[in-house]
């Protein structure tokens, strides 16, 4: 009996293994396609940016970056990012906190609204602000009377940037905070800690990696945004041009090398973002796993 059983398994093993494994040619074809695609669409263009930027030497590369309009564009981009990222940080944390820890009517509407900027084309987002604040817009005449300029000025650029980067922080935090539940907060509450203290000592440390991740993505988008900002900017050189807009102008004026030099800044930002992102993702995954193992039963009795 035992002998025949063991023969059976010996015979069956190679069959089952072949049945479960994909053929080699399929594996290598798929890998080839994936790597070829990445090479053609990502690595080649990225390399091209730096090759073109440095084509005429390091000297001209830095000249393109230190030229007055380029400096103004970099400054404006940093300003827009430094306003919109903190704003969305505060909003994102507040929204995620409310959604994950409380029950209230209109919760699903709020979640949908947070996603709206992802669904709307950035050009439309820019046009909405023109419609509201532009000279022919709803509040345009009133703003003109009081000499407040929003469209074709810095406030418009900041508004458009805030709009398109709106979901990044909240989107990162909501799933994690929902998975973590509110037991730790309730524990802090029973131990006598107030809401503010609980937030700083318990909630925030638990989501810090997701928060950092969200901020980095938010920042990358804030600095790289083209469509929405393009509509509200007015393209005034040295005044309302951000880095992406400046690249476009240079390119249209056939200053290819300068265009690529400035573009290389955004590319570098992207590379730094990717490195930070994978670092954080690694930490983040660990905290999500920890949360998943301690899933809480809500109404269970």
């Amino acid at each position: 009996m035992a002998g025949s059983a063991s023969t059976l398994t010996h015979v069956a093993r190679p069959h089952s293994r072949r049945g479960l494994e994909d053929p080699r040619w399929l594996k290598y074809t798929l890998l080839g396609i994936a790597f070829g695609f990445v090479l053609l669409f990502l690595v080649v263009p990225l390399t091209a940016v730096f090759v073109e930027a440095l084509r005429k030497g390091l000297g001209l590369y830095f000249t393109a970056l230190t030229e007055a309009d380029a400096v103004a564009a970099i400054r404006l981009t940093l300003l827009a990012a430094s306003i919109s990222v903190p704003l969305n940080l505060v909003f994102g944390v507040a929204a995620a906190w409310a959604i994950a820890k409380f029950e209230f009517p209109g919760k699903s509407v709020l979640i949908t609204l947070i996603d709206l900027p992802f669904a709307v084309s950035p050009v439309i987002a820019g046009l909405v602000y023109v419609l509201l604040f532009g000279a022919q817009g709803w509040w345009g005449p009133w703003l003109m009377e009081h000499d407040i300029r929003i469209i074709f000025a810095v406030p418009g650029i900041v508004l458009a940037t805030v709009f398109v980067t709106f979901p990044f922080v909240a989107r990162e935090l909501i799933p994690l905070m929902q998975a973590q539940g509110k037991d730790e907060e309730l524990a802090a509450l029973t131990l006598g800690a107030g809401g503010w203290r609980t937030f700083w000592k318990v909630t925030l440390p638990n989501v810090k990696w997701a928060l950092f991740y969200g901020v980095i993505l938010c920042n990358a988008r804030a600095m790289g945004e083209f469509g929405a900002v393009s509509v509200v900017s007015g393209h005034i050189r040295g005044e309302t041009n951000t880095i992406p807009l400046h690249v476009e102008i240079l390119y249209n004026e056939y200053q290819t090398q300068a265009a690529f030099a400035v573009a290389s800044l955004l590319t570098l930002l992207a590379l730094v973002t990717i490195v930070l992102k994978s670092l954080i993702e690694w930490r983040h995954r660990k905290s999500v796993e920890a949360a998943a193992t301690a899933t809480t039963r809500q109404f269970a009795s």
Binding site: A188, L189, T190, L191, G192, A193, K201, F299, A300, S301
Partner: protein, 363 residues
């Protein structure tokens, strides 16, 4: 500190978690809230803690919570003097064991906060109490389930609560750890005498550990009493079925001095098997399966007249003496039975007819 909850109602959407529950817990006792999942026991515990609030009803007393006769319904959870231990511990993941235990003391307002050396002394004392001295620098992730549970308990005890509430304290632990921790918690209670209420769905745990058992089912309390009383004199069919194995017979009971409107319950250890029985109160049955383990034998029988299955637990020597084999025709005799009227709505104070001869209530 004694606890009282009056006429508590709680709905989650269309789901009723509590339907008019009154609860009194005596000071210094270890009380178990026992029931299946969904019976409302955790909700009741959270209402005592102030983590959940009972629904408002027309009755102004409804849902009020009293500690030592004082109304604490409006007192926030942090000020009720309650230590709460969560089912999944809810330890602060990013803090060390030491900081977890110290948390309740370090968040106190400046005037009430003990000094750092005082806090350290208190934490070390608690670490000793939970037998984890030397592990204060670990993170919760680096502890076993049983150790985490004890840290959660120490964290709750650090603020010297007047009431200790535990939600399924042993639910997530494996059997051996569970037994050790149960014994340890009992001895801790003997030492501290803090009024303690714990929630469990494990009847063995409740009966072994508690001074008083509150059996809950479907948002209501079925019975309250010391473990022995609840086990020996169950007030409802639910209680008798929930606390241990029981045979339930519904038909052909006229031979057993019961009417057709009754349901009969008999514990397996109250079933005796006889080869030749001459008395009138016996049921004819066929042996289906015999199994013996340890000191007793378990016999599965089938009633010949109705086909109902009966489980019997008899001593091993008795089993040997009977020499039962599957298919044998025998007589079963019940030593002690409980009768309840049939129907969906049970009365909780149904008293069973007193047996003429409790030791051998042959039927």
């Amino acid at each position: 500190m004694s606890i009282e909850v009056r006429n508590a109602w709680k709905h989650f959407g269309s789901y009723t978690a509590l339907a008019g529950v009154d609860l009194k817990v005596a000071s210094g006792r270890l009380t178990a809230l026992l029931g299946p999942s969904g019976s409302g026991k955790t909700t009741l515990l959270r209402i005592i803690a102030g983590l959940e609030f009972a629904d408002r009803t027309e009755d102004p007393e409804s849902g009020r919570v009293y500690f030592d006769g004082e109304d604490v319904s409006a007192v926030p959870a942090g000020r009720r003097g309650v230590g709460f231990v969560f089912q999944h511990y809810a330890l602060f993941k990013h803090m060390t064991v030491f900081d977890n235990i110290a948390f309740g003391l370090t968040v106190r307002a400046r005037g009430e906060r003990p000094t750092k050396p005082q806090i350290a002394a208190r934490v070390n004392e608690l670490l000793q109490l939970i037998q984890l001295d030397g592990l204060g620098a670990r993170l919760p992730d680096q502890l076993s389930g049983g150790q985490r549970q004890r840290v959660a308990l120490a964290r709750a005890l650090a603020v010297q609560p007047k009431v200790l509430l535990l939600d399924e304290p042993f639910g997530a632990l494996d059997a051996q750890v569970r037994k050790d921790l149960r014994r340890w918690l009992r001895s801790l209670h003997e030492k501290l005498h803090v009024t303690t209420v714990f929630v469990t769905h494990d009847q063995e745990e409740a009966l072994e550990l508690a001074d008083e058992v509150v059996v809950m089912n479907q948002a209501r309390i079925e019975q309250v009493g010391p473990p022995q009383a609840v086990y020996d004199r169950p007030a409802s069919p639910f209680v008798i079925e929930f606390l241990g194995n029981v045979n339930r017979l519904e038909s052909g009971l006229d031979r057993l001095r019961a009417s057709e409107r009754d349901v009969l319950y008999v514990r397996p250890h109250d079933v005796d098997i006889q080869r030749d029985y001459t008395g009138q109160h016996a049921l004819a049955a066929r042996v289906l399966h015999v199994f013996s383990a340890g000191n007793y034998g378990r016999v599965t029988l089938e009633r010949i007249d109705t086909g109902e299955t009966i489980e019997a637990e008899i001593s091993r020597s008795r089993l040997r003496q009977l020499e039962l084999v599957g298919g044998d025709k025998v007589h079963v005799v019940f030593n002690h039975i409980r009768l309840f009227p049939k129907g969906e709505f049970y009365e909780t104070d149904v008293s069973t007819p007193a047996p003429d001869n409790p030791d051998h209530y042959a039927i």
